[in-house]
Amino acid sequence: AQSVTQPDIHITVSEGASLELRCNYSYGATPYLFWYVQSPGQGLQLLLKYFSGDTLVQGIKGFEAEFKRSQSSFNLRKPSVHWSDAAEYFCAVGAQETGNQFYFGTGTSLTVIP
């Protein structure tokens, strides 16, 4: 069965500190992997995606993520967090073989303290 796990429900970091949000997946097919961000009261915005090729992908707002097949992980990173990064972050997995069926993790809530 397909599943996405985000082990950290809530993370607090200081502004300027580095950030890593964890995502692990269980998927039988070749996965497509995504990170979305949701600011309070807003919809979901795509940060970055991995379909194939280079396992380190760059996204918007200075985020990057690395696909590690051996660890079934797709962790999101940012070297220096800004106060405006405070939001909910969702990892998602999909695959062409399953007809664009996407599964989301439970989300990680990020708090940024000055």
Partner: protein, 111 residues
């Protein structure tokens, strides 16, 4: 130039009523979705349509009925609303083998 739009943004109604949420995308995507986000932020897929045909229908009460009049629209009709239906409902669309674009959400409150 809104890519995925939903109406209304907020919906407050009484238990037992019937309501609809409309969704439109101008991206030319083939696939459209409805997701429900509960109070704990958990996102659960409800329905997926590809070129007006239902391809995913997760375990959702049959009070929820999606309707896709054309490829650009996917509406959600809910009959006999219950308190537990209170949530934020997101419409989304995607191209083949592509990433989803989400609408702004509709916050449904059932009193």
């Amino acid at each position: 130039d809104t890519a995925v739009s939903q109406t209304p943004k907020y919906l407050v109604t009484q238990m037992g009523n019937d309501k609809s949420i409309k969704c439109e995308q101008n991206l030319g995507h083939d696939t459209m979705y409805w997701y429900k986000q509960d109070s704990k932020k958990f996102l659960k897929i409800m329905f997926s349509y590809n070129n007006k045909e239902l391809i995913i229908n997760e375990t959702v009460p049959n009070r929820f009925s999606p309707k896709s009049p054309d490829k650009a629209h996917l509406n959600l009709h809910i009959n006999s609303l219950e308190l537990g239906d209170s949530a934020v409902y997101f419409c989304a669309s995607s191209p083949p083998s592509g990433s989803m674009v989400f609408g702004p959400g509709t916050r449904l409150t059932v009193l």
